[in-house]
Symmetry: D2
Subunit: 415 residues, 4 copies
Amino acid sequence: MNLIQPAAPAAEELRERFRAVRAHTLELAAPLSAEDQCIQSMPDASPTKWHLAHTTWFFETVLLQPHASGYRLFDQRFPYLFNSYYEALGPRHPRPQRGLLTRPALDEVHAYRRHVDEAVLALLGTASEADWPAIEPVVTLGLHHEQQHQELILTDILHALSCNPVLPAYRPASGPALRLASVPPPVRWIERPGGVVEAGHPGPGFAFDNETPRHATLLRPHAIADRLVNCGDYAQFIADGGYQRPDLWLSDGWATVQAQGWRCPPYWLGPDDPRLVHHGAAGGWQVFGLHGVRPMEPEAPVAHLSFYEAAAYAEWAGARLPTEFEWEAAHDAPGISQMHGQVWQWTRSSYDPYPGFRPLAGVAAEYNGKFMVGQIVLRGSSVATPAGHARPSYRNFFPPAARWQFSGLRLAKDL
Amino acid sequence: MNLIQPAAPAAEELRERFRAVRAHTLELAAPLSAEDQCIQSMPDASPTKWHLAHTTWFFETVLLQPHASGYRLFDQRFPYLFNSYYEALGPRHPRPQRGLLTRPALDEVHAYRRHVDEAVLALLGTASEADWPAIEPVVTLGLHHEQQHQELILTDILHALSCNPVLPAYRPASGPALRLASVPPPVRWIERPGGVVEAGHPGPGFAFDNETPRHATLLRPHAIADRLVNCGDYAQFIADGGYQRPDLWLSDGWATVQAQGWRCPPYWLGPDDPRLVHHGAAGGWQVFGLHGVRPMEPEAPVAHLSFYEAAAYAEWAGARLPTEFEWEAAHDAPGISQMHGQVWQWTRSSYDPYPGFRPLAGVAAEYNGKFMVGQIVLRGSSVATPAGHARPSYRNFFPPAARWQFSGLRLAKDL
Amino acid sequence: MNLIQPAAPAAEELRERFRAVRAHTLELAAPLSAEDQCIQSMPDASPTKWHLAHTTWFFETVLLQPHASGYRLFDQRFPYLFNSYYEALGPRHPRPQRGLLTRPALDEVHAYRRHVDEAVLALLGTASEADWPAIEPVVTLGLHHEQQHQELILTDILHALSCNPVLPAYRPASGPALRLASVPPPVRWIERPGGVVEAGHPGPGFAFDNETPRHATLLRPHAIADRLVNCGDYAQFIADGGYQRPDLWLSDGWATVQAQGWRCPPYWLGPDDPRLVHHGAAGGWQVFGLHGVRPMEPEAPVAHLSFYEAAAYAEWAGARLPTEFEWEAAHDAPGISQMHGQVWQWTRSSYDPYPGFRPLAGVAAEYNGKFMVGQIVLRGSSVATPAGHARPSYRNFFPPAARWQFSGLRLAKDL
Amino acid sequence: MNLIQPAAPAAEELRERFRAVRAHTLELAAPLSAEDQCIQSMPDASPTKWHLAHTTWFFETVLLQPHASGYRLFDQRFPYLFNSYYEALGPRHPRPQRGLLTRPALDEVHAYRRHVDEAVLALLGTASEADWPAIEPVVTLGLHHEQQHQELILTDILHALSCNPVLPAYRPASGPALRLASVPPPVRWIERPGGVVEAGHPGPGFAFDNETPRHATLLRPHAIADRLVNCGDYAQFIADGGYQRPDLWLSDGWATVQAQGWRCPPYWLGPDDPRLVHHGAAGGWQVFGLHGVRPMEPEAPVAHLSFYEAAAYAEWAGARLPTEFEWEAAHDAPGISQMHGQVWQWTRSSYDPYPGFRPLAGVAAEYNGKFMVGQIVLRGSSVATPAGHARPSYRNFFPPAARWQFSGLRLAKDL
């Protein structure tokens, strides 16, 4: 496995990092009952319990089996159950049926995690210097992989809870804040020059293969908004008939609006929504989120948009989405804000391979490259992204109709 | 509500019966975890927890709200969640999404049951003689209703567990036997005369509206098998290419065989089934059931057949299915066996209304009548039917492709 | 092949009948262009050209190949193209793709008909007395088969033309009348006694196997309407909210109403239908039919109803549908009218086999028996039924949601 | 309408060009019967007759209605029938139902063409110098639009005929050659330098809006194959298990291979294909094309590949697809061949807007821009592309699963 110039933390640092990341996953699941952790609300989403097991299977398969001599599988049946999409690793349980796995029970999955955690920590504690170059990148990859699933735990359970007419909260609002909102300054356009810029991961440190190789790219003069589009902005788009005007939409987007009956973002509830009867909400938009149903906050970045909605909004606003290279080049521009920790930001870039891209070797070859068609790049990071996981060169990607992520937008325009 | 000559047990007897039936439902759920009780494996099946709540909602809605003065709903949101199909009672949660109801949690549903149980027992303890004729039939209907759901708890969880590649057992075989098998005598044909016979519920005692009115019907001379078709018989049908010969099948049946890839009953596993790897089974058919995976028992009645398969088997055997009236007339025929407690028996009768049929009045009008199209009558009762629930005139019904019930067949032929 | 006491017309009479029936098929197709004759508007319907060829294939396959020595197939490829559903006769072109058969061209299909016609007439002209018992029933069956397809030519093209927003007429109204309407007398209830009656084909003469064996059946006292439900009656049902009241509908029917958005019969057009813009229609219901768009005639029997709609109407009217045996018993009752030549009449009888039913031997075994599940019996005949094709014992059958036939209803009620 | 520096031919030249293009459309339809011209074999394809009418409607709507004073619509109903996807022009007949339009008949569509042709020619003959800048670009756009549909006439009818088990030829091989094959030289890799190159339409002359603005782009050093991948090459990929190896495929591609059962290009027939029975073909691959079924020619460029197949082939060959900019930059490279007139060539570029892209003004705004998501760019032109329609900057685009175009590939690789 040929990772891009990985840093080599001492073994103890890596063990500590391993413990912390693994513990955080369990903390995210803690507010949920065993029932909650078992359900799957759509094929794209997975049960919390499955995430707990799959991330564990990843370490077992990619690290322990090849590198920990004498390691024995926790359960012979788990590779079939918890492989996600690795064709090279054999057949697997059909994705849309993950919610039927009441067995293994949650307790067994916890035991599985402990079993693998102990084996990983033991391996890290005893690995020789000679083994380190083979082991460290795999552990690091596994931890970044687990962080990706930490975000999915939140987005997937939010979708699942949204399907319950009772609209239960993941965590009451009095708990640790996951609040999206901050009071943004008024929008300002930041002018950016054209010219050749470098894009992609500069190293050192970890990056996924899809961020490489770093390469030159040509920009044209443009302007980029200093902040994200917020809920107040988006409510104006709705009020102006944005969901009824085909001229604003890409063709596939308009077809989706009509087929799915979209009228607002997926977790927005209008004042006459029957589900609000038992929530005592009075007037105006309500928004369902990890803290349950709360009044729409105009200054909060709008979230859970599809690419189609982001592009239609930009058209309505007389602007456009930035390309992923414009976004990356503006990352540290003076005056720019909300680049991270709020919502992933749709770009106007399809998820194509960088020039000279080569996938990781071995099993991890399937990690990113095979998804490079039919998807759109998002940049930044969201309120659900774990601390330390984001990078200026990070390329997130989803199909253009996906709405269950914390996904929003920032405007750009030509100069 | 105009039930057919209901018996009038004393209040205390009815309270006792209520306690017993309600307790039995919980006993059936006891081997299952909260996770198990939450899942829904297909739109036709429901989660155990939903059955627990829906049967409770039935008493709350049909008995307590109209008859228990001062009764307060346990939760205002539950009628929406736990109404099954009663259009007159307002909108309801979509049937295919019952598996997403992780909230209310199982504990809350148990509390709901206790709340309603107490109210029902209190009502029965204080009802005046004048109220009795209005109350007793509703309680009795509610108990028969709950018994129907007791059977569904078993058939639905069996289907759900069958979707898990681990094939977990509902209850280990060492527990109380739910074994289908008994050693049957060799098949004998019992000759039956033609002529006018009465069919339908004769009274007194409870019956569903669809068993009435009792009426005369004309039979022709025929013969009926003294026992059920068993697994050994059915294995011969399979071995003889039964699933590959269109001439044996009804047109819709053959289309289903091809579209669904049917090759054997749904819970039979051939010797090369990959799910058997971890079960140590050696050779021959295995059958998944409430006790898990066990070798096929030739003498056990074949179960989980669709009507299409039952009809194809009969054609292959040079016989036919009995009509529901032939079945009922033969109920007490000398020498006949296995009429109850093994498998429901597909008949060659579509589920049409009896001459003069009128549905129950009020809400219960939707109980049976509105399903009288596109379904086939099954007679008898199964290993999953609660004690005391079966009757000679009982008309069970399912669509012809349904396979998740304990459904088999008995042969008949013209003389 | 064991037909029920077929009459034995002299060879010349049969040749004449053959010529007449075959010619009538072409007359029905005459108003249609080659384009019109090629399209298929839904899987249940077939192109006119396909009907022309399939009925020809039937004679070629069932009569000429086994009985005409030295007969050579017109085209080796046609059996694959024009077999409808006979599994015993090998694979065939998928039903939903019949509309893609632009080749063979219409001219070739006409040549195919001539080729087969000549061979059949030659065979009939030279068959020996010894061959006659084998030949005559097959020719007779083929002619009745062709008459069934004559009706389908009309119902299928009506559906196809209804899918064209231009709403073209099959035949201008000034042509030979296919008018449904006649001024009916006011409704009268004809009281009918209970008791044992004989049902099924009495012989002699041709009947399909599904009309046999004639057998005794028990009726209860009832009343039957002397005339059909007409469009004026049905418009009141619509105006009274019939399509919005779930209490009137069978469960499957209500689900279909909602899923398909049914609001009126399929060929009725409300005053604001956009397709009427170019038809100059003013106010009130318009009805699309073989003569194009015409104002709804209140006295015309309502047509193109599904069984679900017929049953809901009867419920709304405080009545019910007759059973197929009540209908047959009332066939010649004094005062009854509109039993034939208007619309097929849905009954409250599922299409089950008669007691003692055996299908025809040989290839024709697949003609009727294999469809005996999931369908409903209709009795009578329609405006599209060829002269001489109807019988009191005739059992037509369609699935309960089918609407493209000339299907209506007559009311009955218990006494 | 702001086209990019259109050339301004004299009126007579444009009239001549108009006559020639319009006549060529009819020539392409000439081998087809009215039946052939009416069918639609899948939602993505359209009937020939519809193409004839739609291209006419385009001139009527975009040219005659705004610019020809006193022009009267040929038929008020045609705009609804023959609008393709222009939301701004009102509702339209559903795309998947175009095959049901037997009316207007082919003759009427021919009359429609004549009516519009006369009006266009008259307008061009009388237009003043002042009107010319408004008129000429629209006529030119309409002619290029018609040429695009000329290609679709061929690809759509080829698909339709391929659905007929008789596999009829569009035109016998003895007719004017549409042969794909030419004997290519052995493959050679042409090395190409990196650096800044200009891409996009340089002007003058016509181009679609999606080819603009011309802009600088950065290339890296690479090599590009001098010729197309041919059928012989592709047969090796098949023989090597290319369709059975998930490691070669993009994830969506592999899912499609499995869901659709792909085993070879769509019009290839293996030696045991039942449709070959009546074609007398002996051994080896056969290929269905516009000339009917013919033996696979190893030296012919492989056609009718999806992007998924093209990308999998490139992976198998240890190469990759060129980007659209690499392709364009290599257009006139010494030694390169088969850039045009054979097959459209899938690139590794998603169909994103060029920097600074603005769609055409007015109705034509919907021409290209709204499709810029979820599609892949193809470059070059095919055997079905009309003479004079291709350009180095031409961007064709289709979804990655599309297979009914004449689409193939050329390899590239990094240096």
